[in-house]
């Protein structure tokens, strides 16, 4: 079979909330992998950078009926309508872009001039501003990842689906004369770090990959689908209240009324 040269892909994730224990390993792995800066005092969560953030949801009931669910939230790499992601369309300097080859929403750190319009556009709060220049504890510079440039103050950053890993995997494949990546060759850091195996990553439109089948699971939903952001992160939950928490509904509406782009 001849392979097309770099066929269009839509990389995405399926996160099984029934499996997630809220341990936060994905958050830590993401910070380490991407040289995400942190401060001495991280109590103000509205100023700390968490490309991957685990939310704690509850069903609003009190003990003994209270239930908790943890929901990891990376950037959704929204496709919007035909690549018009909420954030990409507004950036005045094309410092963030929807890559039609991979479906990844990139962030071009050296192009961003820090107007923060994209942050206002993203309903998921997936974008973070560098309010400070990064300061690494003594000696930590040596352990930073050489594959990801640290950012300077005054620019916006966000999850890139570990795009550098895609580039490395692609280079390796190319050196072996292959034009297509195998499913396990390109996996983001959070996915690999999750001890519960709650995150599955792959090409959502490739019939042979796990995510393709998983996104059709009846438990699947996406966050804020009604807005038309067309995100590439699917969640699985067997609990109705969790699926309902993923979007806004009128009391008389059933969950799952939105036609999914599945």
């Amino acid at each position: 079979m001849t392979q097309e040269y770099r066929k269009e892909k839509k990389y995405g994730m399926v996160i099984d909330l029934d499996k997630c224990t809220g341990c936060g390993a994905c958050m830590v792995a993401c910070m380490a992998e991407n040289n995400v800066p942190f401060r001495d005092n991280e109590t103000d969560k509205l100023k700390s950078i968490t490309w991957m953030r685990v939310y704690q949801l509850n069903n609003g009931k009190s003990y003994p009926n209270e239930e908790i669910c943890y929901l990891p939230r990376p950037c959704m790499h929204c496709e919007g309508h035909n690549g018009h992601s909420p954030c990409v369309t507004v950036c005045p300097a094309i410092a963030t872009d929807y890559d039609r080859e991979t479906g990844i929403v990139s962030q071009i750190i050296t192009r961003c001039f820090g107007c923060r319009y994209c942050m206002g556009a993203c309903p998921y709060h997936a974008r973070y501003f560098n309010w400070w220049d990064p300061v690494w504890p003594d000696g930590m510079e040596k352990s930073l990842s050489p594959n990801v440039s640290p950012r300077m103050r005054g620019v916006v950053e966000k999850c890139t689906f570990c795009f550098h890993r895609y580039q490395l995997a692609y280079e390796k494949a190319a050196s072996e004369g292959r034009r297509e990546l195998r499913e396990n060759e390109y996996q983001p850091s959070c996915t690999q770090a999750c001890p519960a195996g709650a995150i599955t990553f792959g090409d959502l439109i490739n019939k042979n990959q796990a995510v393709y089948k998983m996104k059709k699971d009846p438990r699947a939903f996406r966050l804020l689908e009604r807005l038309g952001t067309n995100p590439k992160i699917y969640y699985l939950s067997s609990r109705e209240w969790v699926r309902r928490a993923g979007d806004n509904y009128h009391p008389d509406e059933e969950t799952g009324i939105v036609k999914n782009h599945r």
Binding site: D44, L46, K47, Y55, L57, L71, G80, P86, C87, T89, V90, C91, P92, A93, I94, A95, R111, C112, F113, G114, C115, R116, Y117, M119, G120, A121, C122, P123, Y124, H125, R127, Y128, F129, N130, W131, W132, D133, M152, R153, G154, V155, V156, L223, L224, R226, L227, G228, T229, R244, A245, G246, D247, N248, Y249, H250, E253
Partner: protein, 414 residues
């Protein structure tokens, strides 16, 4: 001491008093400049903005001063295109206010961006789909037009006018001013509109999002309309204020009356459009996203229905009704009330279209995010006010801003 520079036939306060006034405002200006330098040198960590509030006080100030400065383009449009010639007696002042508002807006934008040295990327790497790109281009161009409109005024200074070259230049510029005023009106429609579009295109933020016509959300048209409607009120407000401060009548009542009447009609029609827009947004747009109007006005410490009432009724319907009646326009107290309420009304509109957009949660499991500005943000927002006062003081003293001043205030010894 500086009497040779003061326009002929008008009286000004002693130079020492003028300097003292400049000194007082200068202190405030210096405070603002200090805060501005802190933001530039230390970064935006000097502000209280955060990842929920990427846009905050500054963007509001930008939108508000540009709406208020809308008097310049709309009076220019009325005078040069519609042919309301009486307005020539207030147009200089409207241009001066516009110049101050637009230069301030550009300055605030330069402070507001995280990497000021990369500010030119917005022109160089322009994304033509972004409303902010449109804002940047039209704003800069229109600021250029305002500068061109302001220059002949400077050239009319008694001393400068004596130099034949400048005298002729000023004369020739006046001749072609209609071209610039029309260009300005055209550019203004776009940047006022695109400022409205900034919020209206955010389809991820149901509070801001509006459907519209082609690529322009309804807020695009509402912003242009409201700037044209409310801007003249600000011009009237400042004229009256200056008259109070100087103790002189500077513009004849019929001029103010005409501007007030037009403004009244504009606000009246605008507010009807705004009510329809709000109703449609609540009943159709927001409803289709699984939310209701009250989701945006409830359940938080600050944004209640009161703000909608303040914007539409107190800051819209009230001033419109006052300005539409002859009695309202003729009564000093009512006119003051109307223009102040109108200015507040448009400022509230700009506030909710920036700050409430950021405050309202979208994800059902998130909460309202409230914010208060840091002193550095407040100081840098007051900075343009101080700068504006200084520019008005200097311009009023040395330039013939008000053509009717001489006639309205004859000096006995003449």
């Amino acid at each position: 001491m500086d009497s040779a520079f003061i326009p002929e036939g008008v009286k000004r306060c002693p130079f020492s008093q003028f300097l003292a006034g400049l000194g007082v405002v200068g202190v405030v200006l210096a405070w603002g400049i200090y805060a501005m330098l802190l933001c530039w040198l230390k970064g935006l960590n000097q502000t209280n903005m955060n990842d929920s509030y990427g846009f905050a006080l500054w963007i509001w100030a930008d939108l508000a001063i540009i709406a208020l400065g809308g008097g310049a383009f709309f009076s220019g449009f009325l005078k040069y295109i519609v042919g309301k010639d009486e307005l020539k007696n207030i147009i200089n002042f409207a241009v001066l206010i516009g110049f101050i508002c637009y230069s301030s807006a550009l300055l605030i934008l330069a402070i507001d961006i995280g990497q000021p040295l990369r500010g030119w990327f917005i022109f160089w790497h322009a994304n033509v789909h972004s409303m902010l790109t449109e804002v940047a281009f039209c704003l800069s161009c229109y600021f250029g037009v305002l500068t061109i409109e302001y220059i002949p005024l400077i050239l009319e200074n008694r001393k400068i006018d004596k130099i034949p070259f400048f005298h002729n230049l000023s004369h020739n510029m006046h001749e072609i001013m209609a071209v610039f005023a029309s260009t300005g009106a055209f550019l203004s429609c776009f940047h006022q509109g695109s400022l409205g579009g900034v919020a209206g295109v955010l389809f991820g933020r149901p509070f801001a999002y509006r459907e519209g016509l082609l690529v322009w959300p309804w807020t695009f048209f509402l912003f242009t309309w409201s700037a044209a409607a409310y801007g003249p009120c600000f011009t009237i407000f400042l004229t009256r204020l200056l008259e109070k401060i100087t103790g002189k009548k500077l513009v004849k009542d019929n001029v103010i009356d005409l501007l007030a009447k037009i403004s009244g009609w504009m606000i009246f029609t605008y507010i009807i459009a705004k009510i329809i827009d709000t109703w449609y947004w609540a009943a159709v747009t927001v409803h289709s996203k699984g939310q209701t109007l009250m989701d945006f006005y409830d359940d938080n410490m600050f944004y209640g229905l009161w703000i909608l009432v303040a914007e539409i009724v107190v800051g819209g319907i009230f001033p419109a009704l006052i300005l539409l009646t002859k009695k309202g326009r003729n009564s000093e107290a009512l006119l003051w009330t109307a223009v102040i309420l109108a200015c507040l009304g448009v400022c509230i509109n700009r506030w909710v279209m920036v700050l409430q957009v950021m405050a309202a949660p979208v994800l059902p499991f998130e909460d309202w995010a409230l914010y208060y500005p840091s002193w550095q943000e407040v100081a840098t927002t007051i900075l343009p006010v101080a700068y504006g006062i200084i520019l008005v003081m200097i311009s009023y003293r040395y330039l013939p801003i008000f053509p009717q001043e001489k006639e309205l205030n004859p000096i006995e010894s003449y």
